[in-house]
């Protein structure tokens, strides 16, 4: 079946502009994650949504970052007033969150370049 999709694949923006990144999780998956991957930094946790529970926002690096998940499905990560240090690959993952199921299914990522 269809995997996790993300759009756009690539985004080039100017410093100070706002950007929106979209994630379409696998249908029926209740858990959704956003990560940031910079060169040599591994995957940095940003935010986690689980069903109707309040999201875990503990990884968001500043108040310029926000995310929402509408109807328990599609999610949007918004970065306001982008800075050059925001340049990275932003990865989304979803999980069915079943007992004994630790698998996260990742999308291909959005490559963000802030000039």
């Amino acid at each position: 079946g269809a995997g996790v999709s993300q759009s756009p694949s690539n985004k080039v923006t100017e410093k100070g502009k706002d950007v929106e990144l979209r994630c379409d999780p696998i249908s029926g998956h209740t858990a959704l994650y956003w990560y940031r991957q910079s060169l040599g930094q591994g995957l940095e946790f940003l935010i986690y949504f689980q069903g109707n529970s309040a999201p875990d926002k503990s990884g968001l690096p500043s108040d310029r970052f926000s995310a929402e998940r509408t109807g328990g499905s599609v999610s949007t990560l918004t970065i306001q007033r982008t800075q050059q240090e925001d340049s990275a690959v932003y990865l989304c993952a979803s999980s069915p969150r079943l007992a004994g199921q630790e698998t996260q299914y990742f999308g291909p990522g959005t490559r963000l370049l802030v000039l």
Binding site: V4, A31, Y33, Y35, G40, Q41, G42, L43, E44, F45, Y48, Q50, D56, S58, G59, L91, A93, S95, R97, E102, T103, Q104, F106, G107, P108, G109
Partner: protein, 112 residues
């Protein structure tokens, strides 16, 4: 100090070699341990998952967890050029949170 440490490599080995990839961690509350493989310009995919201590084998892959040393390993037997990728370890604490902490990843190159 990072919660999870992983040598970034790159690690180059000849085809057929046994590869050992490792992570150390500082938080003794971690109970769930995973290894992901990430090919260039792709998202990571889960290879192995282990709960608490012990070994787990799946084909050419073996995952080991030593909680007393806070050390986890992934062994790849009979390595193939198609195993060339970045390998990331990940872990999380017991129930209460599903927040995963990832290592920086080790780049592996298997030479034909």
């Amino acid at each position: 100090q990072k919660e999870v440490e992983q040598d970034p490599g790159p690690l180059s080995v000849p085809e057929g070699a046994i590869v050992s990839l490792n992570c150390t961690y500082s938080n003794s509350a971690f109970q769930y341990f995973m290894w992901y493989r990430q090919y260039s310009r792709k998202g990571p995919e889960l290879l192995m998952y282990t709960y608490s201590s012990g070994n787990k084998e799946d084909g050419r892959f073996t995952a080991q967890v030593d909680k007393s040393s806070k050390y986890i390993s992934l062994f790849i037997r009979d390595s193939q050029p198609s195993d060339s990728a970045t390998y990331l370890c990940a872990m999380r604490m017991t129930s209460g949170t599903y927040k995963y902490i990832f290592g920086t990843g080790t780049r592996l190159k298997v030479l034909a």
